[in-house]
């Protein structure tokens, strides 16, 4: 399609004008932004407030833990490992903050936070609400092993000691039972025939 000269010239000049004008408009906008304060949050120095229900690093308040293993079983990636040893009579483990009596020594409570997917599924089943999310999110490490968090209040020796104690107690109980059984076997059994007659 052939445009006539005048029309062509008009369009040409309009293009030129548009070109210059739009560049100037753009430049005015960027110039204004030159003096707008930055919106950047300078992260390590300034931190934004996190929302209430953020999911970050787990924390276990081991004083409240009754070692029920429910959190471990809820975890979809099996990153919580719990070992418990029963207490022996005479040992007082105290109660949890909501009044539950503790009966188990938690000899091992390891969370491999490197595996954790922050799903928070372990938090809900806990009967004492002692495993929960904190707002700590800066915990990178150079060694992967450092991400294995150990929450148990007992050190290895103590844990072993508890185990030995329990085993000893158990053995004693076995022995007592065996002794009792032996004693029972040795005795004549007068009541035994009487029992069916009760029915």
């Amino acid at each position: 399609m052939q445009k006539d000269g005048i029309e062509f010239m008009r369009e040409y000049l309009k293009n030129t004008w548009d070109g210059i004008y739009t560049v100037l408009v753009g430049m005015r906008i960027t110039f204004k932004h030159l003096f707008t304060p930055a919106v950047t949050i300078q992260y390590p120095e300034v931190k934004v407030k996190l929302p209430d229900r953020v999911r970050n690093r787990l924390y276990v308040n081991i004083d409240d833990c009754i070692g029920c293993d429910q959190c471990s079983r809820a975890c979809p990636v099996s990153c919580i490992e719990i070992d418990t040893v029963k207490s022996i009579p005479g040992e007082d483990l105290g109660t949890t903050s909501n009044g539950k009596k503790k009966a188990l020594w938690v000899t091992k409570f390891d969370i491999d936070i490197a595996k954790c997917c922050y799903c928070q599924l372990c938090v809900f089943p806990c009967p004492t609400e002692c495993i929960y999310m904190t707002d700590v999110y800066e915990f990178s490490e150079y060694e992967r092993a450092n991400l294995l968090y150990k929450f148990s209040a007992l050190n290895q020796d103590e844990a072993a000691q508890k185990k030995v104690n329990y085993e000893k107690f158990q053995a004693e109980k076995e022995a007592q039972k065996a002794a009792a059984a032996a004693a029972a076997a040795a005795k004549p059994k007068p009541e035994t025939p009487a029992q069916p007659s009760d029915n």
């Binding site: 560049v23 430049m27 960027t30 919106v39």
Partner: protein, 355 residues
Amino acid sequence: MYQFFFDLTGNVIISTLAVALVPLICILLVTLFGVWLERKVSAWMQDRVGPNRIGPYGIFQTVADFIKMLQKEDAVSSEIDGVLYNIAPVLVFAGSFAAFAVIPFAATIIGSEIEVGLFYMLAVSSFVVAGILMGGWSSNNKYSLLGSMRSAAQIVSYEIPTALVVLSMVMLTGTLSLTQISELQTSSFWHWNIFGGPGWELSKFLLIPFMVVGFIIIFISTLAEVNRTPFDIPEAESELVAGYFTEYCGMKYGMFMLAEYGNMFAVSLLVSVLFFGGYQSPVGYLGKTFGIEWLVSLEQFGWFFAKGWFFIFVQMWLRWTLPRLRVDQLMTLCWKYLIPYAVINLVIIGIISLL
């Protein structure tokens, strides 16, 4: 300036080196400061903060980068064309460095007072094209090659409007010497060429609009010649990685960077010589009032740098404002808009200067 150093040392070689050192140091400082300013300006325009860790306002960021660059291993791919590959960065840098030889930083500070400074500058800056083509070709990389092809096409095309505007300025001033052009626009901003040059005749006022047009044309076309956005298709990051210097690293890459900022500075200075009085102060000199000779030189140097930096700032401003042009748009702008306007402008300025 050569004479000054010659008188000082009495040795040809030492004085030559000393003269050559001045623009070299200028380019280095301009690059260091320019990269920093580029980052800061881009950050501010995008409402960010920009470098702020090393030194006050991150001013030493580029120094740190430079040191890092010097220490880098010179990794080369096995399929390159060795000789050309190694010559290319040197050539590109030499081209932009050589342009500084004729730029008068002050009435007394000039590398070489040749009569055809303007011509020399145009000629030597197209030297860069050879280097860019070499780099792109020898890298044996499609991005490099595409980048260098685009760059060559672009620089060669945009030299035409630049040359036309320069020609009209030569017609007006009647000289090719950059020092003389600066001298003509004596110490008041009303005498600058953008305001029609010295004198108070009618022709001066008639010239003003055409001078503005000429300034706009030469600013656009020099912007394209130094491959800056919106004319950065040779190194379009989003398409070509880094264009013709994709395959370079370490100090060779650094040479390309130096050349880029050197070129930016050179064209900014050229524009300010042609239209904004070069090293002339817009208001007069303290040194002349007090009769101190060296202070005048210092002031001129300062004014010249200030003007150069202003235009560099405008280049950055444009970079962070406008998107990149397509290749066809680029060629349309040059051949269908800039060149016709430049020719008409040339004719009109010619007629007016005859009056």
